[in-house]
């Protein structure tokens, strides 16, 4: 066996040739999911996965996703399958409808085998704040290192070789950063490219459906199924869906790649700096044009606070529906206020409450101009600056993080340093402007992976996949999974 460490394409070929059956794949995936000790799962679909196999006969076997097991972040609504967003306030909540991405994947014949852990309500970047506790990085069997978040379980399940792809969500960098920490490809296409219907909202103006694969080609294939207009999400785009896998051509010739000097300069990790620079050289040799550009460092440093203000403000409103009245645990109370206060006091962790307070504070009448509206202006300025760079370039390229995966203990990054404010948080430019963005493996340092990230023009996923496949050819880093765990 061991098919699940392979790419979607390879597994597909094995399915077509009859070398393996969907039942065998599902059994293997479920076994691995149960054996995994990275705390990657909120729920494992032991029964439901086999139910889905029964429907496979009616579906197109030639679809690359047919019979392929996958994992979905637990903030996507799944009919009859508990969905908690790793928050106690949603314990016991069983949705009555599927999110659009799950519908599309099921229609294509992919098999949902589990719901993955996340930072509570997708708010966080550490994989430590979900109600089931820390999610571990499969690349470190000693469990000292984080995998990042918020799509921690989705990343871990692919990195640990349980499934060849998983669905996540990305509001600041929640797919693309953990992808870098776990040697995966992490994709977040243009805002509106994939329907968000059924994704629990964190900050809708920046929320994206994203996903993890082990190579660029699989990432392109997946988008062909996920992308497209959905009447249930009026922000989903009517832009034509193309055969993205056709653009996985490895061709870097003439591709104009911008590198923002201030971002690279803020990084102190030598392994990453060196790897990134030699990567750039090789890209140049392969025909790419590398343009070093400058961006106002005040704008770069404004990304993180801008993100916090806008995301917390939207989050406090989006999560106001979690009041203990309609679904989720009822904590009792004599008045409606008591019912709400009790449910929310017990249901949310302190961290979430802190974010709600920040968001609420930013929206208050007396602060809105100074905080929320100012953050919106800053967002506009940052997007303008990024678009200005993209006018003359096909993409913006940078390390996906200034370091390898952080430690759980003794992680004391200086939150006022340039490195933290710029290189550690600048992936959010893709969320501010809704730009397509992809993270891919760049190298290893002390056995831990690090990645690079490419952000392109709106709805230009084709160019993104083309460049990314060129980079993948250079690094040779694809189809990786951690073998260190129990299996």
């Amino acid at each position: 066996m061991g098919y699940l460490r392979r790419s979607i394409k390879e597994i597909h070929e094995a399915l077509i040739s009859g070398a393996v059956t969907p039942e065998e794949l599902v059994r293997e995936a479920l076994t691995k999911a149960h054996d995994n000790n990275d705390n990657a799962f909120e729920y494992i679909c032991d029964k439901e996965a086999y139910e889905q196999i029964k429907d496979l006969g009616s579906k197109d076997k030639n679809n690359m996703l047919w019979g392929i097991p996958f994992v979905c972040k637990d903030n996507f609504s799944t009919k009859d399958i508990p969905t908690t967003a790793s928050s106690n306030i949603l314990n016991g909540y069983v949705p009555i409808f599927d999110s659009e991405v799950v519908i599309r994947l099921k229609n294509a014949g992919a098999i949902l085998i589990g719901k993955a852990t996340l930072d509570e309500l997708a708010m966080g970047g550490t994989g430590t704040t979900g109600h089931l506790g820390d999610t571990y990085n499969p690349w470190d069997p000693s469990h000292k290192h984080q995998i990042g978040g918020s799509s921690c379980g989705s990343a871990a399940s692919v990195a640990a070789g349980i499934v060849p792809f998983s669905i996540g969500s990305d509001t600041g960098d929640s797919v693309r950063k953990p992808a870098g920490y776990s040697a995966l490809v992490g994709v977040k296409p243009t805002w509106g490219r994939i329907s968000r219907f059924g994704l629990f909202p964190f900050a809708p103006s920046m929320d994206h459906v994203g996903y993890f694969t082990r190579n660029v080609f699989d990432g392109a294939v997946l988008l062909e199924t996920l992308a497209g207009r959905d009447e249930k999400d009026s922000t989903s785009s009517t832009e034509k869906v193309i055969k993205y896998s056709d653009s996985v051509d490895g061709n870097l010739k003439g591709k104009k790649i911008a590198v923002i000097k201030e971002i690279v300069d803020s990084i102190t990790n030598d392994d990453i700096k060196t790897a990134f620079e030699s990567n750039l050289k090789e890209m140049e040799e392969a025909g790419a044009v590398i343009n070093y550009v400058s961006m106002d460092s005040d704008l770069l440093k404004a990304i993180y606070p801008t993100y916090i203000v806008i995301s917390c403000a939207e989050a406090t409103s989006n999560n106001a529906n979690l009041d203990g009245i309609k679904f989720g645990p009822r904590m009792g109370g004599h008045t409606y206020e008591e019912v709400m206060i009790n449910a929310r006091t017990k249901g949310f962790s302190e961290l979430i409450k802190r974010r709600f307070v920040i968001g609420s504070y930013a929206l208050m009448r007396e602060n809105q101009e100074e905080l929320f509206l100012r953050a919106q202006k800053a967002r506009r300025l940052i997007v303008n600056a990024v678009n200005e760079i993209l006018k003359d370039n096909d993409g913006i390229y940078m390390p996906s993080a200034p370091n390898t995966a952080p430690l759980f203990e003794g992680n004391s990054s200086n939150k006022l340093s340039n490195e933290y404010l710029i290189a550690d948080n600048c992936l959010a430019i893709g969320n501010f402007g809704g730009l397509p963005s992809i993270t891919l493996p760049l190298g290893f340092s002390n056995g831990l992976p690090f990645g690079s990230n490419l952000t392109c023009k709106p709805f230009d996923e084709a160019t993104m996949f083309s460049i990314a496949s060129g980079i993948e050819n250079i690094t040779g880093l694809k189809d990786l999974s951690a073998k260190g765990g129990k299996r």
């Binding site: 903030n75 609504s77 909540y93 949705p95 900050a203 249930k232 999400d233 999560n319």
Partner: protein
């Protein structure tokens, strides 16, 4: 001291669209609780709002009727607050950019026209309905998400009567445009009053009091009249008016305190991120207006032009359904004046007697139109038509079928009539002599004789004509 009241109205109108403002759940009234609900209405996580096109068309039509400028870009905002009737924890509304702004309507006070300016019209969604009992509160989400238009006037009204007339005019507009039933008693039109008083001749506004829970147009007037007296008395006694919310108590016919308003609630408005701004093309807006149902004022002008009396015209437009019914009768071919008479007298009598609305009235306008045509073309007499009508009221049968089944037809066959007339003339030769001698009454006598023989079925006009011919021949 002489006081003057400064009154502004906020009117919420529940739209009778097929589906809700942002979800595909049906808009119905009177169904079992929580049966007309989609996941969005309960705010299940991951649901997303999709704007109802018909609601937008309706809002454009009302804005147009109120002479407002129409925003060609739709923006929605979130109004954030926690309350048990608010499933999402926010209401989607149009705070920053209402679809309609700066309009007016005119009311008539003591024969004089008065213009009331309207500040804004915006779309939003209704909350769920709460039923409180002593030990629990029940929530019905059927109402959650029903589209609303809110119409906010400027503080241009000065009396209870003006406010009542303004609200009635809004009701007329929304009901004639098929936007809403506009029934205050059923809550499909809700009116909040803002009222303050000041010394006449001064411009500084007094402390504002809000009145809620008004369930009839009459009560708007009563509540305001009461409030003017109450506030005037306070001021005259040197007691300041307190900013508060009051409700009208039906029993005592007085406004009573609901709650004292402290600082206004901070709703933390911001743009709804799940609805990107929607551009309305000129064609879309123009089409909505062009295809808009006819307003009462326009119908009134049309009726008068068709020769109906002022009184009848006003009676017809006092009820949208009646006027629609009347229009359909005329459309079926009936003469305007005859149709007005039938609808306002005969039909209305049945409605009054049976305590039913025109919608429950059995005779279709097409069949009534046909019956009126039969009268016009002398196929039946007026008296016969009323007999036929009496049958149709129960079964909406085709008037011609009813006429033949009850034998209510006129004898219009010339040969048959001629034979009878010849016989009558033979038997009453003296009458012919009398007529020729100038006694016109003799003709009536002969017609009467023919009627006697035909049991009233002879076509009276034809009978007179044929008798005259017969006389001339003799």
């Amino acid at each position: 001291m002489e006081f003057e009241a400064v009154i502004g109205l906020e009117i919420h109108v529940e739209m009778k669209t097929i589906s809700k403002m942002f979800s595909s759940a049906p808009v119905t009234f009177g169904d079992d609780p929580n049966t007309q609900v989609m996941p969005l209405d309960i705010a299940f996580p991951g649901t997303m709002p999709v704007v109802n096109k018909q609601a937008v068309i309706n809002a454009i039509r009302v804005s147009n009727a109120l002479h407002m400028s129409i925003d060609h870009e739709l923006w929605f905002d979130r109004k954030n607050y926690f309350y048990s009737d608010l499933p999402k924890g926010f209401q989607i509304t149009q705070q920053a950019r209402p679809i309609g702004s700066n309009g007016f309507l005119t009311i008539e006070i003591d024969g004089k026209e008065k213009k009331i300016e309207i500040e804004r019209l915006h779309m939003e969604e209704d909350t769920c309905k709460q039923l409180h009992s002593w030990d629990c509160s029940l929530l019905d989400y059927n109402r959650a998400g029903i589209p609303l238009v809110e119409i906010v006037s400027r503080p241009d009204m000065r009396s209870g009567e003006e406010a009542m007339k303004y609200a009635e005019k809004i009701r007329s507009i929304v009901s004639f445009l098929d936007v809403s039933d506009g029934k205050m008693e059923e809550g499909s039109l809700r009116c909040d009053v803002n009222i303050s008083i000041r010394e006449k001749g001064t411009t500084k506004l007094g402390t504002k009091v809000e009145i809620k829970n008004l369930n009839s147009f009459q009560n708007i007037k009563k509540a305001i009249d009461f409030e003017i007296t109450r506030q005037s008395t306070l001021v005259e006694c040197g007691i300041p008016v307190v900013q508060e919310t009051r409700r009208f108590d039906e029993g005592s016919q007085e406004t009573v305190l609901m709650r004292v308003k402290t600082d206004a609630v901070d709703y933390k408005y911001f743009t709804e991120p799940n609805i990107t701004p929607i551009e309305l093309s000129d064609e879309f807006v123009e089409e909505a207006i062009r295809t808009s149902p006819e307003l009462a004022e326009s119908k009134l002008a049309r009726y008068k032009a068709a020769g109906l009396s002022e009184y009848d015209s006003n009676l017809l437009i006092s009820n949208k359904e009646i006027s629609d019914y009347y229009d359909a009768v005329v459309k079926a071919g009936a003469n305007s004046k005859l149709a007005a008479n039938w609808v306002l007298v005969d039909v209305q009598a049945i409605l009054n007697k049976s305590l039913i609305s025109i919608k429950e009235f059995k005779i279709s306008p097409e069949n009534l139109g046909k019956l009126i045509l039969m009268v016009e073309s002398n196929k039946v007499s007026n008296k016969q038509a009323r007999d036929i009508f009496a049958v149709m009221v129960d079964n909406n049968k085709d008037p011609e079928e009813v006429a033949s089944s009850i034998g209510a037809t006129q004898m219009s066959n010339e040969d048959e009539l001629k034979a009878i007339i010849a016989k009558v003339c033979d038997e009453n030769a003296q009458s012919i002599v009398d007529y020729k001698a100038g006694k016109d009454r003799a003709l009536g006598f002969l017609v009467g004789k023919v009627m006697q023989i035909t049991k009233g079925k002879a076509n009276p006009a034809m009978t007179s004509k044929l008798i005259l011919e017969e006389i001339n021949r003799r």
